[in-house]
């Protein structure tokens, strides 16, 4: 899998920090798209209360992230800088979900609830086929 992130936070003051922020944000976005779910059982017990059950992606689950940027200075401050902390997270979740839905488009699938667990995707395919 290939993940490309192009962001614009104005003039790059510290490129390494910008890349780090993008990487971290993308991984959070990936978690939201594919893994992270708060689930209560019928008796109201939280069953995703530890990091064994509440699933965060680890380094081994993340594709290589290619970053690039444009530099458009902001007119609202003298440095021309813009925030970058959440940029990766905001773009990643819809990019991943839309990629899955695009792959399933031949089956007529237009929507799946997040997070896209493997079983959710499988069940969606089974329903679309039947």
């Amino acid at each position: 899998m290939r993940y490309v992130a192009v962001d614009d936070c104005g003039p790059a003051i510290n490129p390494m920090l910008i890349e780090g922020q993008i990487h971290g944000g993308v991984v959070h976005g990936l978690g939201q798209a594919l893994y992270e779910r708060i689930h209560y059982d019928e008796s109201g017990q939280l069953v995703t209360g530890t990091f064994v059950d509440y699933c965060l992606p680890s380094a081994a689950d993340v594709p290589n992230i290619e970053t690039d940027r444009t530099e458009t200075p902001s007119p609202t401050n003298s440095l021309g800088v813009k925030g970058v902390g959440e940029a990766g997270a905001i773009a990643c979740t819809p990019a991943v979900v839309n990629a899955v839905i695009d792959a399933l488009r031949p089956l007529g699938v237009t929507f799946i609830n997040m997070p896209l667990g493997s079983m959710d995707v499988w069940e969606t395919i089974q329903e679309a086929k039947s």
């Binding site: 779910r37 064994v52 992606p57 680890s58 081994a60 689950d61 667990g117 493997s118």
Partner: protein, 277 residues
């Protein structure tokens, strides 16, 4: 996150450990790598009064592959990977993460009896045996007789696993396929396949299923379907279709029983394809 209070001993010999375990009665537990027991203690799902740590007992770790394969009970998953002993080593390489593999042991994993763990189904499929020592002496338990129910084995409370024995793998090829949410997670389902090929046909097949029941299981219908067949795509696919026959896998939040049966069929096909080369 803090365990209940417990006593701790670290005996220097196997006999001392057996005595300490017997003296501790039913509230005593053995500590190997601790990667199953300690989390349970921290969640207070287990509260042993005494931990008998096996780390100082000599000669319990190591892998010998001379004909048959003998794996000391205290062999860590990492050491098993490094020993390059076929299917067991390949499966051990997929267990959790490096830190867990550096501490967790094969004896601990089998004694814990979790059907979601990798090694129980491997030892079962390989028709291995578990060597246990207790106050009454030593006995060798066939893996098929060892796993009784979820987290339950036929190991007596006063027995210590000393070694795992598996038949030699000469003439056998294998495949191991595991599906999980994240790399470090327990298997949603895993399938190990051992195949003996003679002149292009499957002379024998042993297929183990992880997390498809309250114990590790053999996919006997798929094994029977494959025996005597040419080891090519059509026969493999037909046999793999029967991988989930007779199973009633436990459902959880991330995998329904139907989904697990689907995974078992797909993973069985992939494991057999890998074994067929």
């Amino acid at each position: 996150m803090i365990p209940a209070e417990f006593d701790y001993v670290a005996p220097e010999t196997l006999d001392e450990a057996i005595r300490a375990l017997a003296d501790g009665g039913e509230d005593a537990k053995l500590l190997a790598g601790g990667h199953s027991l300690l989390p349970l203690m921290k969640l207070r799902l287990a509260a042993p009064a005494l931990l008998v740590d096996l780390r100082r007992v000599p000669d319990l770790a190591g892998v010998r592959a001379n004909g048959d394969i003998r794996i000391g009970a205290m062999t860590t998953h990492s050491a098993l990977v490094r020993a390059n002993a076929g299917l067991a080593s390949v499966a051990a390489a997929t267990i959790a993460d490096q830190q867990v593999r550096n501490r967790g042991t094969i004896g601990g994993s089998l004694a814990h009896g979790d059907p979601a763990s990798d090694l129980p189904a491997v030892v079962l499929a390989a028709e291995g045996t578990i060597v246990a020592r207790g106050p009454g002496g030593e006995r060798e338990i066939a893996a098929a007789e060892f796993f009784r129910d979820y987290l339950e084995t036929t190991l007596a409370p006063d027995e210590i696993i000393t070694e795992i024995r598996m038949p030699g793998t000469e003439g056998w090829s294998f495949g191991y396929e595991k599906f999980n949410r994240r790399r470090e997670d327990w298997a949603m389902v895993a399938v190990c396949a051992l195949v003996r090929i003679e002149s292009g046909a499957c002379a024998d097949a042993r297929i183990g299923l992880t997390h498809m029941g309250s114990t590790p299981l053999r996919a006997t219908a798929a094994e029977a379907a494959l025996r005597g067949q040419p080891l090519e795509a059509g026969a493999i696919a037909a046999a793999a279709e029967q991988a989930a026959e007779g199973t009633s896998p436990p459902a959880d939040l991330n995998a329904s029983a139907d989904y697990k049966r689907h995974l078992a069929r797909v993973l069985c096909r992939r494991a057999l394809e890998r074994a067929a080369g």
